[in-house]
Structures are given as C-alpha cells and as structure tokens.
Amino acid sequence: MMRHIKTVQKASVKKPVSGKACGECQTSCQSACKTSCTVANQKCESASK
C-alpha cells in the first residue's frame, strides 16, 4: 500500500482487437464535434459488427 500515491486507473491503452483495428467505430465529427477533435471519448464498436 503506497502512502503518498493512489493509482486511480491502471495502465489500459486498448490494443486493437485480434491484433488489428476493425474500423467500425463512429468518426468523431459524426457525434457532437464539428469544429474541434476529440477521439478518446469514442466508443469501441468492435463487438457490434
């Protein structure tokens, strides 16, 4: 137990499913983002294929 550091979220950058990306997720400008760019809030949709 560390007294000075609390890990809120463990390492987690999601690797492409089965070794490759599937291209099924929404493009960011299709949601509510027409003049800037945020991609990290896009949902992974590999399971919905």
């Binding site: 000075h4 999601k14 490759k20 997720c25 949601s31 760019c37 990290a40 809030n41 992974c44 949709e45």
Partner: protein
C-alpha cells in the same frame, strides 16, 4: 510520457502511453516532477534531499516515495514505453469511407456571424438544395465505398437540413431500404438549428434518427448576439422553446432513439462560457451538451486570441466543478469534450488516426461534390470527386459491379494524402501528453491556421490539453464519492 499537474488542490499524474492515472500528495508530486526533469529516471540524492527540505520531511520519507515511483515505473504505470506502431499491422485493410456529412442544403434560415459555412452557402454565393437523386447517389457511394464495414454513419447537415425536409424523409427511407438489402447498419444523425423543429419533424426524427444535434449557444443575449435571423432579430426565444419541447419528447419512453446533443459555440464574446453550459442544463434541461470554441478568420472580432487562454482555462475548470456537483446530486450532465472512457475507449489505431477525415469520412455537397470533411467544402484543391460518377460502378440493383472500386472515381492525390496521415507524423504531437486523446487534432483547423495539415493550431492544442486535464481531474475527484 508523464504529465503531472495541480488542479484545485489535487495533484495528478497521467501516463499518456498507458493511460494510467494517479493521485499524489504534494511530496510525491514534487518527487515525480524531479523524475520528469530527469527524463524519467530517479534523481540524484542531493536533489531529493532538497525536496525533503522543501516539504519539511526526513530524507528517508522521500526515498520511500521514490521507491514507490520506481515500483510504478517497473510495472508500466509511469514512464511506460512509447507504442511502436506499424500501421499495416494495426489496420491491414484498405481504409474505407464509411461515414458521411451529407449537405441536405446549402442554405440557412439564420445568419450566424461565426458560421464556417458562410451562413449556409459555403462562401460560394449560391444557395442550393440537395435533390433526391443526388442524395441517393451519395448513399449508394457510401455503401459501395464501405467494403466490409458494417456500421455506416450519415449526418444530415447543412446549412439547415430542415429547410429541405421532404428530401430528408426520402433519403431516410432510402437508407432504411438499402440497409435491409445490404445488411449494413446505417446510423442517421441530423444537425439542426431547431427553428423549424415542429411536432411532426420531432416525431419523425425520434422514430428514425439515432442521434440529433441541436444548435444553441446558451444564454439569450449570447445566442442572439451571434445567431440572428436574416432580418437581424434574435432567434433565442423560438429556438429554446423548440429545443425544450424536443428534449421532452426525445427523452420520453415514446422515442425509439435517445442519443442527442445540445451543441453551442463559444467565442471571444462569451469567454465566460461555463455560464452558457449551465444555462443549457438548468434552463433547457439539457443533459448532453457540447460547447466548442469558434474557429474563425484571423481578422474576426470574435476570434479567440492567445491572451484569452487563461480565462478560458479557468472556465473549463469552473465547468468541471459544476459537473462534479451535478453528479454528486444524482443529476449528471455530460459534457462531450470531457467524456473519456478510462477503462477502454478506442483502440490504438483510432487514437493515432484521429478523426478519419478523407480516409473514412467525407462530406457531400448538394451538387454531389465529395470533400474530405465539411470544413474543406468548397475548397476546390481538396475536392475528391462527385457522387454522380458512382453510376459507372453500379449494377441494376445499385451494388458494385464485379472488380469495381469507388477509388476509381476519387481523386487519388487528395485521397492518398488523407490515407497516409497519421498523428505521430506531427512534430508537436510526439512530445504531447494529450496526443492519444485528440488524435492529433482537427486537420482542417491546422490547415486553415497554418497552411499545412500537419501544422500546429496552437490555440486548439492548448484547449485540448486543458480539457483533458479537466477530464482527468473529474475522474480523480469522482472517486471521492
């Protein structure tokens, strides 16, 4: 790389390669900062003793903190290795256009002062409506381009798409018919200023459109200042009434679809924009909100300037605090640019490729012209083709003829520029902690600000970093309850 920052009395460290997130006390924060100064390695004892003296702690205490930091480094939770990426391994298929911003008309019933689309005509001087045939060709082009992709997205955009409502309905029905024929899932969005959003259209949208984006800027005086009608009068009263009514219907059990965003733009004229987000939440009942910074010409009065950044950053912090209070009250409000899936989110390819402009996403004008995205519309050097040419590729059932590809009707020079683009190509991104969050930022903003797709739109970068800090702070503070 590790980004360590203090926000509202909380000390936070974010490892950008692994997305690991830690909260620290001040002693650990100062110790970690000394690691960052020392390129991720344990500093010499003299440096650590200095920190111990600053904190009024015995040297052993600092050494114990450093042992913890070393342990986290060992476990890949701090200073984790950069991703070594081979794009072909990540995404072996050819990029397929599978998302479209379909311009239902190049006309509008408002005259917003900041409109990037030239108040509807995209700076062409010609106001026009998409016809049914061209719209169907655009949909056929998208299906033909999408290859093996199952999920396709179309945003009915403008100008103001409700001004061409019969075509919206006809194309919606065509999408549903073609989806059934091809097995694709064609998800529809409509982006509207809500002025014509009556009961009949509300009902239709809630029955057929997966997402609806409603434009309003916030407080009445803010909205009316930037979003007047053609005669100069304010549009807030009618637009806010329409949106209130729409939200009630959209969030009721009768609506087939729920997803929606109330979307606004902030400018130099309302740098206190957190008040506009709060207005949309409290006065209109919006619970899914996206308010974005204006993009504009160099000489516009409302352009955000570098000297505005400290105030804007404080506003984002105020907004984050408000959202935390709402969540604690059991009435959460979701702000698009603070949302972040810490448990998963998009894969590495998506984070590196960014928005997909010109590679997976395109815009189509009422004349059928194809552009990499809505923000490049009308800039002829970026024109990628015309959807009417899809006729040369299709059989009598509107499916691709054997051996044909939509690449044949696209400008290969423009297309290749976007297929080849990858965020790490940008020099500033290589040393930025937010790079997996923004995917390299908006290429159109970069191009219009610097003349290069890979140039740095500095204000956009500063705001993206601040939004990520707020999002991380909210994740940390959210653990308190």
């Amino acid at each position: 790389m590790v980004h360590a920052f203090e926000m509202k009395g909380r000390y936070i460290a974010y490892d950008s390669e692994s997305c690991a997130l830690h909260e620290l006390d001040q002693t650990a924060f100062l110790s970690l900062c000394s690691y960052i100064e020392n390129e991720g390695k344990r500093p010499v004892n003299e440096r650590l003793e200095k920190i111990a003296a600053e904190c009024g702690l015995p040297n052993e205490e600092i050494l114990s903190v450093c042992d913890d930091i070393d342990e986290l480094i060992q476990e890949g939770e701090l200073f984790s290795e950069g991703q070594r990426v081979n794009l072909d391994d990540l995404y072996p298929d050819d990029p397929a256009v599978k998302a479209m911003c379909l311009h239902i008309c190049h006309d509008c019933n408002l005259r917003c002062k900041y409109c990037f689309a030239g108040t509807g005509d995209y700076h062409t001087g010609k106001r026009s409506m998409l016809d049914d045939q061209t719209g169907k060709q655009a949909i056929d082009f998208l299906i033909a381009s999408s290859g093996e992709r199952h999920n396709l997205d179309i945003d009915f955009f403008g100008g103001e798409p409700l001004m061409n409502w019969p075509v919206v309905m006809s194309l919606t029905e065509y999408c549903e018919k073609r989806a059934a024929e091809t097995g694709k899932d064609i998800r529809l969005t409509i982006t509207t200023n809500a002025l014509l959003l009556d009961e009949e259209k509300t009902k239709y949208i809630n029955e057929h459109m997966k997402n609806c984006v409603l434009s309003i800027d916030g407080r009445p005086e803010v909205h009316d200042n930037m979003r007047p009608a053609p005669n100069g009068s304010g549009s807030y009263r009618i637009v806010s009434d329409r949106i209130r009514t729409f939200l009630a219907a959209r969030t009721s059990a009768d609506s087939k679809y729920y997803e929606h965003y109330v979307r606004g733009t902030y400018t130099r004229s309302n740098l206190d924009f957190s008040q506009d987000v709060i207005h949309l939440a409290e006065e209109l009942g919006a619970r899914h909100i996206s308010v974005e910074p204006v993009v504009s010409d160099e000489d516009s009065f409302y352009r955000i300037r570098p000297e505005d950044l400290p105030e804007i950053e404080r506003e984002y912090e105020n907004l984050a605090e408000y959202l935390i209070r709402k969540k604690a009250d059991g009435d959460p409000v979701h702000f698009f640019h603070f949302l972040m899936d810490m448990q998963g989110g998009p894969c590495l390819y998506k984070r590196l490729k960014g928005c997909g402009v010109g590679a997976e996403y395109c815009a189509v004008t009422p004349d059928g012209d194809i552009y990499p995205c809505h923000q490049f519309t009308g800039e002829i050097e970026w024109k990628m083709g015309n959807v009417r040419d899809v006729e040369t590729l299709l059989d009598e059932n509107r499916n691709l003829l054997p051996g044909k590809k939509t690449e044949e009707i696209l400008n290969s020079r423009v297309r290749q520029i976007f297929i080849d683009r990858l965020m790490p190509d940008k020099a500033e991104c290589r040393s930025c902690f937010a790079r997996y969050h923004c995917g390299g930022g908006c290429p159109a903003n970069s191009f219009h600000a610097t003349g290069s797709l890979d140039g740095q739109y500095e204000i956009g970068c500063a705001l993206a970093k601040k939004r990520l800090e707020c999002s991380l702070w909210m994740t940390v503070v959210g653990q308190d309850t």
